[in-house]
C-alpha cells in the first residue's frame, strides 16, 4: 500500500507533508479477543490544507486522533506503524516531557465531547492559565489576552466567558472555547474531532466558518474528523474515507464528491440532504455501522453492505489504487454507475 502512495506525484509534494501516517494498526483488547480499530492506515496531511477524515460511528476516527497524540491507552495498543511529523520525528516514540510538548504546542486538539472537555470546578480563564504554566510561559497571562481576542472574534463577551465556569455556558460557547483552548498555544496542526456534532445547524455553520477563517489566517494545517459529508463539502480540501479502520478512498474533495470511486463513499454522499438537494432524496446508509467484532478477517470489509459485491470481494481485500492524480480508492469494482 505504501508503494502506491510514494508514486512520483506524491513524492513531488512531499516537502509539504506535515504529518505522515504509515501502516498504522491499533488494536483494542476485549473479552472476545483483540480487534483492530485501525488496520494498516496510511495518511498524509498536507501543509496549510484542511484534510477531512470521514466515516460512520465506530470507523476508528477518534482512535486515529488519539494515536496522533500518542494517547492510545489500554485496552488499546498500537501494534504497528509510525506517525511522523516533519519537524518532530515519530510521535509514537515520544515519552514524558517531549510528549507533553507535542500535545498543545505542536498539535492542538478540539475534542469530540468538547462539552465535557473542561474541568467543571475551574473557571475557563484559570484553565487557560494552567495551559500557559504547563507549557513554560513566563507570563501565562499572555494566553489570556490572546483568548480574549479570539473570543471577541468568535462573537462572545470575553470577560464573561473567561470568568465563567463551564456549566454557565451554552454548548456552542463551550465548543468555541474548546477551539480557543487549542489555539492559544499556537499549534502547527489543529486536530478537530467532530467539532460540530452536538450543535444545531446554525451554530454548526458558524463554528465551521470560524474554523475556516482561523485556518486561513494562521496558515494552519488542519485535520477535521467528521461523519457528515456536508461538512466535508463545505470546508475540506482533501478527504479520507475511513470504514472499519481502513482507508476506503482518498483524494481532493471536489474530485471525490464528483466521481466517488467507492460504493461506501457514494452512500455517504447520498445520505446528505444538503448535497442531494431535498430531504426525500436523501437516503440513509443501509445496514449497520461497523462493529469491531463483526468485521470480516478476510476479503473486503464493506462487502456485506455493498451492492456491487462480487466473488472476488469475499477472498481478497482490495488495495488502494489510483483513479486519477491523487485520488485513490480501495474497491474491486470498476464499472461506472450513475444511480
Amino acid at each position: 500500500m505504501s508503494a502506491d502512495l510514494s508514486t512520483t506525484s506524491e513524492a513531488m509534494k512531499s516537502s509539504h507533508i506535515v504529518c505522515s501516517v504509515r501502516n498504522l494498526t491499533v488494536t483494542y483488547q476485549t473479552d472476545a479477543g483483540d480487534f483492530p480499530a485501525l488496520h494498516n492506515v496510511n495518511l498524509d496531511i498536507q501543509q496549510n490544507q484542511i484534510t477531512a477524515v470521514i466515516g460512520e460511528s465506530g470507523s476508528g476516527k477518534s482512535t486515529l486522533a488519539l494515536a496522533m497524540l500518542n494517547g492510545i491507552a489500554l485496552p488499546g495498543r498500537v501494534t504497528g506503524g509510525t506517525i511522523s511529523l516533519s519537524q518532530h520525528g515519530d510521535v509514537l516514540a515520544l515519552r514524558g516531557k517531549a510528549l507533553r510538548r507535542l500535545r498543545g504546542p505542536v498539535v492542538g486538539t478540539v475534542f469530540q465531547a468538547s462539552q465535557n472537555a473542561m474541568n467543571p470546578l475551574r473557571r475557563i480563564g484559570k484553565q487557560i492559565l494552567d495551559l500557559g504554566r504547563s507549557h513554560g510561559y513566563k507570563d501565562p497571562r499572555i494566553l489570556l489576552r490572546e483568548a480574549q481576542l479570539l473570543a471577541k472574534k468568535m462573537s462572545m463577551d470575553p470577560d464573561r466567558v473567561l470568568t465563567a465556569y463551564p456549566h454557565q455556558l451554552s454548548g456552542g460557547m463551550r465548543q468555541r472555547l474548546g477551539i480557543i483552548m487549542a489555539l492559544v498555544l499556537h499549534p502547527e496542526i489543529l486536530l478537530l474531532d467532530e467539532p460540530t456534532t452536538a450543535l444545531d445547524l446554525l451554530t454548526q455553520s458558524a463554528v465551521l466558518q470560524i474554523i475556516q477563517s482561523i485556518h486561513r489566517e494562521r496558515q494552519l494545517t488542519t485535520l477535521l474528523i467528521t461523519h457528515d459529508m456536508g461538512v466535508v463539502a463545505e470546508v475540506a480540501d482533501t478527504v479520507v474515507v475511513l470504514y472499519a479502520g481502513r482507508v476506503m478512498e482518498e483524494g481532493r474533495t471536489a474530485a471525490v464528491l464528483r466521481h466517488p470511486g467507492h460504493p461506501y463513499t457514494r452512500a455517504l454522499i447520498k445520505a446528505i440532504p444538503r448535497l442531494t438537494g431535498s430531504l426525500d432524496q436523501a437516503r440513509p446508509l443501509e445496514g449497520s455501522p461497523p462493529d469491531l467484532t463483526m468485521i470480516p478477517r478476510q476479503g473486503c470489509v464493506f462487502r456485506q453492505r455493498c451492492r456491487y459485491r462480487m466473488a472476488l470481494c469475499d477472498n481478497e481485500s482490495p488495495s488502494l489504487k489510483q483513479l486519477e492524480d491523487g485520488h485513490l480508492t480501495a474497491c474491486h469494482w470498476e464499472g461506472q454507475s450513475d444511480d
Partner: protein, 331 residues
C-alpha cells in the same frame, strides 16, 4: 452568593427541626420507659418525707416536667425549657445544672473528634489517591487491603488494642486521664506537653477508625474521575502531571463531602467507647456514666449535645460543598 445564604437559612431551619425532633423523641422515651424514672424519683422524694410541693419543684428542675400534669402540657413545658437552654439538673452530680456539666465536657470531645476526623480525612484521601493511581500494583493492592481491614474493625476493639499495645506491652504513652494529675493545669509548656502526650492514643483511635472508609471512598471516586473526559482532555492538552493530579483530586474529593455527614455521626458515637477506655471527661464518657447512674437528665442533655454537634458539622460540610462546587449555586 444569594444561593449560599438561602441555603444556609434553609439548613439552619432544618437543624432546628432536627433538634426538636430529637428532644421530642427523648421526652417520650423517658416518659414511656418501663419504671418511669420521673415518677420513680417523685415517689422516692415523697417517701423520704419531702413535702409534695417541694418534691414536685425538685423533679421539675431535674427533668423539666412533672408526672401528673397532662402529657401535652408537660411536653410543651419541656420543649420550652430546652429552647431556653435549660436542660434540668443532674442526678448523679446532685444539684449541678446539666448544661454546666455538658459545657465542661464538650471541648474534650469536640477537639478530639475533629482532630481525629481531620487526620483521618487527610491521610485517607492521600492513601485513596495513591491506591487508585497505582491500581494493579503491589502498593495499591496493599493499601486497599489495609483500608478494607481497618474499616472493618469496631472502634472499641481498635481503642482497646491501641491502649493495650502502647501503654502495657510497650510503655510509650501514659494510660488514662487527659493529663498528668501532678501538673497544675494552665498555659505552662509542661502542662500542654502532657496534654498532647495523653491525647495521642485516643486521637489515633479516631483517626485509624475513620481512615479506611475515606481511603476506600476516595479510591472509588478517583477511579471514576480518571475516566472523565476533562481529565483525558487536560492530558492531551499537555498539562503538567501536578496540574493533572490537582484536577483529579479536587473533582474526586467533592463527592466525599456527602459522606462527611455520616462520618461525623460515627465519630461522635465512637466517643462513648474511646473516652471511656482512655478516661477522658468528654460527652461520651458522660453518657456512659449517666447510663450507669440512671442519670436521665444528663443522658438526654448529652444526646442533645451530640445531635447538635452532628447537625452543625453537617451544615459546615454542606456549606463547604457549596463553596467548592460552583455548579451548586444554580440550584
Amino acid at each position: 452568593m444569594k444561593g449560599f445564604w438561602i441555603r444556609l437559612v434553609r439548613r439552619l431551619a432544618g437543624g432546628l427541626i432536627m433538634v426538636l425532633a430529637v428532644s421530642s423523641f427523648t421526652f417520650f422515651l423517658v416518659h414511656f420507659m418501663p419504671g418511669n424514672p420521673v415518677q420513680t424519683k417523685l415517689n422516692t422524694l415523697l417517701e423520704s418525707g419531702t413535702p409534695p410541693l417541694q418534691a414536685e419543684a425538685q423533679v421539675r428542675s431535674m427533668y423539666g416536667f412533672v408526672p401528673h400534669t397532662p402529657l401535652y402540657v408537660q411536653y410543651f413545658h419541656y420543649i420550652w425549657q430546652i429552647l431556653h437552654l435549660n436542660l434540668g439538673q443532674s442526678i448523679s452530680y446532685a444539684g449541678v445544672p446539666v448544661l454546666h456539666l455538658l459545657l465542661k465536657a464538650m471541648p474534650w470531645t469536640v477537639i478530639m473528634v475533629l482532630t481525629g476526623l481531620f487526620i483521618s480525612f487527610i491521610i485517607g484521601i492521600a492513601a485513596g489517591v495513591v491506591a487508585s493511581v497505582n491500581r494493579n500494583s503491589r502498593m495499591g493492592d496493599g493499601l486497599t487491603m489495609l483500608s478494607t481491614f481497618l474499616h472493618g474493625i469496631p472502634q472499641f476493639i481498635l481503642a482497646l488494642g491501641l491502649a493495650y499495645l502502647f501503654t502495657t506491652v510497650f510503655r510509650v504513652f501514659p494510660f488514662g486521664a487527659p493529663y498528668n494529675a501532678a501538673i497544675t493545669p494552665g498555659w505552662s509548656a509542661a502542662f500542654l506537653a502532657s496534654l498532647a502526650r495523653h491525647a495521642v492514643l485516643p486521637i489515633a483511635a479516631y483517626a485509624i477508625s475513620g481512615f479506611g472508609g475515606w481511603a476506600l471512598a476516595m479510591r472509588a471516586s478517583v477511579s471514576s474521575v480518571l475516566g472523565d473526559d476533562y481529565i483525558l482532555a487536560a492530558e492531551l492538552r499537555g498539562v503538567t502531571p501536578a496540574i493533572r493530579l490537582r484536577y483529579i483530586a479536587r473533582n474526586a474529593i467533592l463527592p466525599l463531602f456527602t459522606i462527611l455527614t455520616l462520618s461525623v455521626g460515627f465519630m461522635f458515637g465512637g466517643s462513648i467507647f474511646i473516652e471511656t477506655i482512655f478516661d477522658y471527661p468528654g460527652l461520651g464518657y458522660m453518657i456512659n456514666s449517666a447510663l450507669a447512674a440512671r442519670d436521665y437528665p444528663l443522658m438526654d442533655g448529652a444526646f442533645l449535645m451530640i445531635t447538635l454537634a452532628v447537625i452543625i458539622a453537617n451544615i459546615v460540610a454542606d456549606l463547604l460543598y457549596t463553596v467548592l462546587d460552583p455548579r451548586i449555586q444554580r440550584i
